[in-house]
C-alpha cells in the first residue's frame, strides 16, 4: 500500500521538476533549474510545512498543558477539540494594530521579528525529512544549523535593545547570556554522533545508523535498524549520555522551561518582546516553535537514526514521529520542572554540561577505537549504562543533604 503512495508522491514531484524542460525543451537555462527546484520544493512546501507545524504545535502545547493540569484547553473553534484555535488566533493577530512605541529604535524594532523568524526558518534547509527529501545537501549540515541558530540571538538582542523598555532590555541581555552559554555544550554534545558517523552531512549521519535487511538500492527500501541508532548504549554509552545532555542544552537554546529565564512572565513580563503586538509578536511566538522542531530534528538525525529504524512506517512519517515526540517531551518538561535561577543557569552550563562534554568526546573516541560494534562493546556498553542508571536512581532516592538553615522533611514534621 505504501509503495503505491510513494510512487504517487514521487511522480508528482517528478512532474513538477520537469516543468522547465517542457517549457524550454532540452535547452533549459541552468539558473532556471536552480531557482525552479528551490522555489517549488524548498520555498513553497517547506514554508507551508513550517507554518502549519508552528500553528499546530501551539495548539498541541495548549492541549498538552491542559491535560497535564486536568483542564480541557481550547474546545470551541473547529468543533473537534478546538483544533482550529491557533488558526483563528493567527487571523486575529494579523488584523491587530501594530504598535511601535515612541522612542524606540524604529529600524531595529521592525527588523527584529523578521530576523528571528526567518533565522529559524533557514535552519530547515539542511534537515533531511526522508531519503531524498531535503532542500540543500550541505556537507557542513550540522555546522550550518549551529551557525544559523546564532541568527536568532541577534534578533532577540535587537528586539530587546530597540524596544525602549526596561523589561525588554533585561530580557534581551538575559537571552544573550543564555545563548552564549549554551551554544558550546550543544555543539560539544553533538560531536560524539559526528565522530561516530565521520561526517557533518545530515543525510550521511542518518545513513550511517542504518542497518539494511534486504536491498538498499531499492528506492524505498525499509531497514530494521532500530537497534543500530547512535543513542543506544550498546553502540556507544557515551553517545547516550551525550544525547541526554544535548537535549538539556537544546532546551536552553530554545528558551524552554526550565531555562525560560529570558521571558519569565513573573519577573520580566515577556522579556525581549514585551513591546511587540499583533503580527510581529506572533512571529516571535512561531519562531520558538519552529526552533523547537529544529533542535528535535537535529537530535533525531544525529542520535535516533533519522528516518531509519522502525519497520513498516514510511520514512518521512517516521522522521516526523521521532521529532514530534521530542517536541512533546519538551512540552511535558514544561509542566514537570520549575524554572532555574539565573546563577543555576550558568552553573549547569559551565560546571556540568561542559566538563561532561569533554568526557563524552574523549570517551566516545576511545570507544570508537576499540569497542564500537564488537561483541565486547555490546556487552560492556549495556552493563555500563545499567550501572550508571542504577547509581543515578540511588542518588535520586537518597535524602537530600540539608543546607545551612534548611530543615529536612523528617525534622520539620517532628
Amino acid at each position: 500500500m505504501y509503495s503505491a503512495l510513494y510512487q504517487l508522491l514521487y511522480s508528482t514531484l517528478e512532474t513538477l521538476l520537469n516543468i522547465p524542460f517542457w517549457l524550454f525543451g532540452s535547452h533549459v537555462p541552468h539558473w532556471l533549474v536552480f531557482i525552479h527546484v528551490s522555489l517549488i520544493l524548498g520555498g513553497v512546501c517547506m514554508m507551508g510545512f513550517i507554518t502549519v507545524l508552528a500553528l499546530f504545535s501551539v495548539w498541541a502545547e495548549r492541549k498538552v498543558s491542559a491535560y497535564m493540569q486536568a483542564r480541557l484547553g481550547p474546545m470551541e473553534v473547529g468543533k473537534y477539540h478546538g483544533w482550529l484555535q491557533t488558526a483563528a488566533d493567527a487571523i486575529k493577530l494579523l488584523l491587530k494594530e501594530d504598535i511601535v512605541p515612541a522612542g524606540s529604535d524604529k529600524f531595529l524594532f521592525l527588523a527584529a521579528p523578521v530576523l528571528v523568524f526567518s533565522g529559524s526558518m533557514i535552519s530547515y534547509v539542511v534537515i533531511p525529512f526522508g531519503p531524498h527529501l531535503k532542500i540543500a545537501d550541505l556537507d557542513l549540515g550540522v555546522f550550518y544549523i549551529l551557525a544559523t541558530s546564532a541568527l536568532v540571538v541577534v534578533g532577540v538582542i535587537a528586539a530587546g535593545w530597540s524596544s525602549y523598555n526596561k523589561w525588554s532590555i533585561y530580557g534581551g541581555m538575559r537571552a544573550a547570556s543564555q545563548y552564549i552559554s549554551y551554544e558550546i555544550p550543544t555543539a560539544l554534545h553533538l560531536l560524539p554522533a559526528v565522530l561516530m558517523a565521520g561526517s557533518l552531512n545530515m543525510s550521511q549521519i542518518a545513513d550511517s545508523q542504518a542497518y539494511y535487511l534486504g536491498d538498499p538500492s531499492q528506492p524505498f527500501y525499509k531497514d530494521f535498524s532500530i537497534l543500530n541508532w547512535a543513542v543506544w548504549p550498546w553502540i556507544n554509552p557515551f553517545a547516550t549520555v551525550s544525547f541526554i545532555l544535548y537535549f538539556i542544552a537544546s532546551l536552553a537554546e530554545t528558551q524552554r522551561t526550565p531555562f525560560d529565564l529570558a521571558e519569565s512572565e513573573s519577573e520580566l513580563v515577556a522579556g525581549s518582546h514585551t513591546e511587540y503586538s499583533g503580527i510581529r509578536w506572533s512571529f516571535f511566538f512561531l519562531a520558538e516553535y519552529a526552533d523547537m522542531f529544529v533542535v528535535s530534528a537535529l537530535g533525531t538525525v544525529l542520535f535516533l537514526g533519522g528516518w531509519h529504524g522502525l519497520p513498516l512506517i514510511p520514512p518521512v512519517l517516521e522522521f516526523l514521529l521521532k521529532a514530534l515526540f521530542l517536541m512533546f517531551v519538551m512540552m511535558w518538561l514544561r509542566w514537570t520542572l520549575p524554572r532555574l535561577r539565573v546563577d543555576q543557569l550558568t552553573y549547569v552550563c559551565w560546571k556540568v554540561l561542559l566538563p561532561f562534554g569533554f568526557v563524552t568526546i574523549l570517551g566516545s573516541g576511545l570507544w570508537q577505537l576499540y569497542l564500537v560494534r564488537t561483541p565486547a562493546g555490546w556487552v560492556a556498553g549495556t552493563v555500563l549504562m545499567a550501572v550508571l542508571l542504577l547509581a543515578m536512581s540511588r542518588i535520586w532516592k537518597s535524602e537530600p543533604v540539608p543546607r545551612d538553615g534548611e530543615m529536612t522533611a523528617a525534622a520539620a514534621s517532628a
Binding site: F34, V37, S38, L39, G42, G43, M46, M47, L94, L95, K96, E97, D98, I99, P101, A102, G103, F117, S118, M121, I122, V125, I135, A136, L138, V142, Y144, N165, K166, W167, S177, I180, S181, E183, I184, A187, L191, V194, L195, M196, G198, S199, L200, V269, T274, G278, I279, R280, F283, T346, W350, K351, L354, P355, F358, I361, L362, G365, Q368, L369
Partner: protein
C-alpha cells in the same frame, strides 16, 4: 557541491519575503490609532520612570570572552571528529580521504586520540583556572570596601 549554497541563499530570500509579506500586506487593513498613552513604554501601567537605556551590570563580561575561546575550540574539534574514523585502522581508509590527509597515513587512531586529549587537557586547565578564579559565578563578592584597599 557549492551550488547547494545557491539553494540556501534562495531559500533565505523566500523566507524573508514570506515573513515580510503579511506584515506589509495586512498593514492595509490593520487599524492604526496611535495615542501618546498607547505609545509609551510598558511599565506595568505606571508612567515610565527615567531612561531604559541605562548602564547596568550585565555580569557576564568575562563569560563572553571565555565563550569565544571555547567556541573556537569546538570549531577545531569538528574536523577532528569528522576524520577520526579514517584513522581507526591505521590510516588504511585514508585513500578515500582528501589529498593532504594522505601524508598522515602513519598515524594510528590512538595517536589522533592522544592529540585531542592533549588539546582538551589544555582547555580543561583553562576552564579550571577560570572556575577557581570565580568568573563562572553569577553572584560574586562585591568590591572590597575602601579600608581594604589601603
Amino acid at each position: 557541491m557549492y551550488e547547494q549554497y545557491a539553494h540556501v541563499l534562495i531559500f533565505g530570500m523566500i523566507a524573508t519575503v514570506i515573513v515580510v509579506a503579511p506584515i506589509v500586506l495586512f498593514a492595509l487593513i490593520r487599524p492604526v490609532r496611535p495615542s501618546s498613552e498607547k505609545l509609551s513604554p510598558y511599565e506595568c501601567g505606571e508612567r515610565p520612570v527615567g531612561e531604559p537605556w541605562v548602564q547596568f551590570n550585565i555580569r557576564y563580561y568575562v563569560v563572553c570572552i571565555i565563550f569565544i575561546v571555547f567556541e573556537v575550540e569546538v570549531l577545531f574539534m569538528l574536523p577532528w571528529a569528522v576524520v577520526f574514523n579514517a584513522f581507526r585502522d591505521g590510516g588504511q581508509n585514508l585513500q578515500a580521504a582528501a589529498g593532504e590527509l594522505k601524508n598522515l597515513q602513519g598515524a594510528t587512531g590512538l595517536i589522533v586520540f592522544l592529540e585531542m586529549l592533549i588539546f582538551l587537557v589544555v582547555l580543561a586547565v583553562g576552564l579550571a583556572y577560570v572556575w577557581a578564579k570565580g568568573h563562572l559565578e553569577w553572584i560574586r563578592e562585591t568590591t572590597k570596601g575602601p579600608e581594604l584597599l589601603d
